[in-house]
């Protein structure tokens, strides 16, 4: 089956299902917020220094979510691997390009004719702007992801979507003048994730994430943080319905530098 007929078939399937739904019930007149669910994420973020300006970004996230009987960690949600090569243009700007392999786990048991897990692939690129504001740091992050996903049903095919993400965040040192070893900080973040693609009909707002973390900088190569995130977004299949989630997140940031000492010195200050 070539790509075009497959895409057409998918489209028909989606429209068909929407038509089916429309036949069954009236379209809701107001949007509806579903009951929030709870989740727990353990995220590791690696930034492995390759040269003065290049880093290898290596992130692995373990995401759990509630089950019928257990809040937060009742079942595995996703295991998520994100890699990229990041180019440090200056202290104030860097760009990254790479891929994601994510394993999605079927929730609440595996129904007949469904898979336990499905892979999800992405190509992503990111543009990060950093700004000094007195003692705190302000960041703007634009991340664009090209995403292939599929449902758990055995016959499901991959669908392609784009994600458009913008995040504004801060890191505010609490016990020190600057972000430095030994500093505790607070990091508020707000991220808006929009989506587009053939499958996206009335649900462009995929996610709005509001997250505040509390972190400790052990040294320039190691930081720990934890935070609470509230998120909400439209159901792909019916934009009138909004999912909600409370997520407790743990983060470890590590940044090893295996270059020889003589290559590290003197420290590049990059372009001011």
């Amino acid at each position: 089956m070539s790509v075009l007929p497959r895409t057409l078939a998918l489209l028909l399937l989606v429209i068909g299902s929407l038509a089916l739904r429309a036949q069954k019930t009236e379209a809701p007149k107001v949007s509806t917020f579903k009951e929030p669910i709870t989740a727990f994420w353990i995220n590791t973020y690696g930034n492995i220094r390759l040269s003065d300006r290049f880093f290898w970004v290596a992130q692995t996230h373990f995401r759990f979510q509630e089950s019928a009987s257990t809040p937060l960690v009742g079942q595995v949600g996703q295991i998520y691997n994100r890699h990229a090569i990041s180019y440090l243009y200056s202290k104030y700007f860097r760009a990254s390009l790479g891929g994601v392999l994510r394993i999605n786990f079927n929730q609440d048991g595996v129904a007949e004719g469904e898979r336990r897990t499905v892979p999800e692939y992405r190509i992503w690129h990111e543009y990060l702007f950093a700004q000094h504001l007195a003692r705190l740091m302000l960041y703007h992050r634009i991340r664009i992801e090209h995403r292939w996903t599929k449902g758990y049903a055995l016959g499901d095919e991959f669908i392609y979507r784009n994600r458009w993400r913008y995040m504004i965040s801060m890191k505010i040192p609490l016990n020190k003048e600057k972000l430095s070893p030994g500093a505790f900080y607070v990091g508020p973040e707000a991220e808006l994730i929009m989506q587009s693609g053939k499958a996206v009909v009335d649900s462009p707002l995929e996610d709005l994430r509001l997250h505040t973390s509390f972190g400790y900088i052990v040294n320039p190569r190691l930081t720990f943080a934890t935070g609470l995130m509230y998120s909400m977004g439209q159901d792909l299949t019916d934009g009138a319905y909004y999912k909600q989630k409370w997520t407790w997140r743990l983060h470890m940031y590590f940044s090893p530098d295996f270059r020889k000492v003589k290559n590290k010195l003197p420290m590049i200050h990059l372009t001011e």
Partner: protein, 637 residues
């Protein structure tokens, strides 16, 4: 060029067999000269391995007095001296004959030549060792001063030994652990001359001519109570001399051939062992061991002896100043009172305090714990004490006159009754006496020249003092109190005021000179303290790396060699500053400044050095003096 490379390679590699070797200047312990040796490299260490020769002689030293030459040769096994070794020590001065041959001077030498030969195992003597000392005259052997054969096993003297000098031969035996045992017999021209009898290290008696007359020289008391094994060395022989004196046989051991042989032999071994240790060996265990009664000094006795020592030192300092004073030497010709007082100083120093000095010597030589104190004091003061009176004979106005001197304060010292306490009182009395003499003599020496000299010194002192004071005045308020500049200012002021209150002209001159030195030291220290915040910042900057943090997108400062930097910043600098603030004196000002400066230099050096080992040692160390030892110790080779 090619030749130079070949020659260089030849010095590095012996005959192409790939064994690296060294030939050149070499120093170890107190020995410096030229060495040739082979070595192996293990990790970063150079381990001597194979043949080794090392010798040194200094012609310049010989020409300007005397020279101590040496030559050592033997074998190493991975850094450890093993196998047969030969040692030669020369102690020479210029002899009488000189010849000029082919443009070279040839001079003969007089002195001694000491040869030692034996085997080493695990760095310790382990065979029969032979020591031979020759007296050298005009570069020829004139006499064998000592020939000694001692059998060693694992560094310990075993079985029998033989010491020989001229016609005198001493044969003796030791137990397995080097403890003296049985009869040690001295033969003179093959005739038995003297016998020392030991039982398990305890000397029982010394008998002259044991075969015929059995003239008992001394019988030592049977040991009872606590005993201790000590080395048979100069200290033991001194103890023995005191024992003889206590038995009323004061000079019986003078020129005793056994004592002479044992002393010369001990010196020869001390020299050899020092060389073995310098070469990396372990030698250092005592030769022969003997047993002595011991009754350790009590805390009270120690305090009394320390006080006696302090008083003697004070008396010596003051008497030296009084006797060296040239203007007093002039005045005494015209003033009989001055002549009398100076003679009294000599009397105090030499006769009144003579037994006190003997006591102190026994204390310093660590003999006192092995000597019955009461008996020893009774020997030193046969009359049971002293009345503090000295009979002084001096050049009077017309002829030599006699007069008794007594000092101020109590003058009865019941030493047989009160023991060391009375001796301490006697020493204090001597100190009071010499003080009183000084103040009288001070009045007598107020000459015009002296006053002029003092005025000049005071001018210099005032200049230096105000320089320091204005330096401190401008900084005390602005720099952190922690630096202790106030303590420097306080000490300078106190010393200056103390000087101003000195009225005795004799004292004034010395005091002014001392105070000028002190003010100069304090000035150097103050400058060092003023520099310290800058130096600390320099060290901080040197030990801080700037590291890019890609998560925060900021450059972060990170302290490197953290343990080392903290030891400096949190332990050592505060330790020195604490000393400045609470323990500053004229005596330690210069040292404190120099130590702070050298610490700064050392820290900057260590930044560039490999310090992993040092840092891991610092983990176990907290006391500042221990940290300092680690920091200043050279890295293990």
């Amino acid at each position: 060029m090619c030749f130079a490379i070949v020659a260089w390679t030849a010095t590095l590699f012996a005959q192409g067999d790939g064994v690296p070797s060294y030939s050149g200047a070499y120093q170890t312990g107190d020995f410096a000269g030229r060495a040739e040796y082979e070595y192996v490299l293990r990790r970063r260490d150079t381990l001597r391995n194979g043949a080794f020769t090392f010798s040194g002689a200094n012609a310049r030293a010989l020409l300007s007095g005397h020279d101590r030459s040496f030559a050592f040769s033997g074998q190493y096994d991975r850094g450890e001296p093993v196998g047969e070794w030969d040692f030669s020590f020369g102690n020479y001065e210029l002899g009488s004959s000189v010849a000029l041959l082919n443009g070279r001077y040839q001079v003969s030498v007089d002195g001694t030549r000491h040869l030692a030969h034996g085997r080493l195992a695990n760095g310790e003597p382990d065979s029969i060792w032979t020591q031979t000392i020759y007296r050298i005259e005009d570069s020829d052997t004139a006499e064998v001063v000592l020939r000694s054969d001692i059998n060693f096993e694992e560094g310990i003297a075993r079985q029998s030994f033989r010491l020989e000098s001229g016609p005198a031969v001493l044969l003796g035996r030791v137990q397995r652990d080097g403890v003296a045992e049985d009869a040690w017999t001295l033969y003179d021209d093959l005739i038995t001359a003297q016998e020392w009898t030991f039982d398990d290290g305890q000397l029982l008696h010394i008998v002259n001519d044991p075969e015929a007359d059995r003239d008992t020289l001394v019988v030592l008391p049977q040991l009872s109570g606590k005993t201790e094994m000590v080395d048979l060395d100069a200290r033991y022989l001194e103890w023995l001399a005191i024992q003889m004196q206590l038995q009323g046989k004061g000079n019986a051991l003078n020129n005793n051939p056994v004592v002479n042989l044992l002393t010369t032999n001990a010196e020869a071994y001390a020299r050899t062992f020092e060389a073995i240790r310098a070469l990396g060996g372990e030698a250092g265990r005592p030769l022969f061991r003997v047993s002595l009664p011991v009754s350790p000094l009590s805390r009270k006795e120690l305090a009394q002896l320390e006080s006696i020592d302090a008083r003697l030192r004070e008396v010596d300092t003051i008497s030296r100043a009084l006797l060296a004073n040239t203007s007093l030497s002039v005045v005494q010709n015209a003033d009989a009172e001055v002549a009398y007082l100076r003679a009294a100083v000599i009397g105090l120093r030499d006769s009144l305090l003579a037994p006190v000095r003997q006591l102190r010597r026994s204390y310093e030589r660590e003999i006192l714990p092995y000597v019955p104190r009461r008996g020893y004091l009774a020997y030193l003061w046969p009359t049971g004490g002293s009345d503090g009176q000295i009979s002084v004979r001096y050049a009077g106005d017309d002829s030599r006159e006699n007069r008794d001197f007594t000092g101020p304060g109590p003058q009865r010292f019941n030493i047989s009754g009160e023991g060391l306490a009375a001796v301490a009182d006697l020493a204090a009395y001597a100190r009071r006496s010499i003080d009183s003499i000084r103040s009288v003599l001070g009045q007598k020496s107020n000459t015009r020249e002296r006053q002029q000299a003092i005025v000049a010194l005071e001018d210099q002192l005032t200049r230096e003092y105000y320089l320091l004071d204005s330096l401190l005045e401008s900084r005390v308020g602005t720099l952190p109190r922690e630096l202790g500049l106030e303590a420097v200012q306080r000490l300078a002021k106190a010393e200056y005021l103390r000087y101003a209150a000195t009225e005795d002209l004799l004292e004034q001159e010395a005091a002014a000179q001392q105070l000028i030195r002190c003010v100069q030291d304090l000035d150097a220290l103050a400058l060092q303290l003023i520099r310290l915040p800058g130096e600390r910042e320099e060290v901080r900057a040197a030990y801080t790396d700037e590291v890019w943090n890609n998560f925060t997108a900021t450059v972060m400062e990170e302290v490197v060699k953290k343990r080392l930097y903290r030891a400096y910043d949190e332990r050592l600098v505060p330790y020195y500053l604490e000393q400045v603030r609470t323990g500053l004196s004229c005596d330690n000002a210069a040292t404190l400044g120099a130590k702070l400066e050298s610490l700064h230099v050392r820290m900057l050096e260590l930044r560039a050095e490999e310090t992993d080992e040092l840092e891991s040692r610092l983990r176990r160390v907290d006391a500042p003096d221990r940290i300092l030892e680690l920091l200043t110790a050279p890295e293990p080779q």
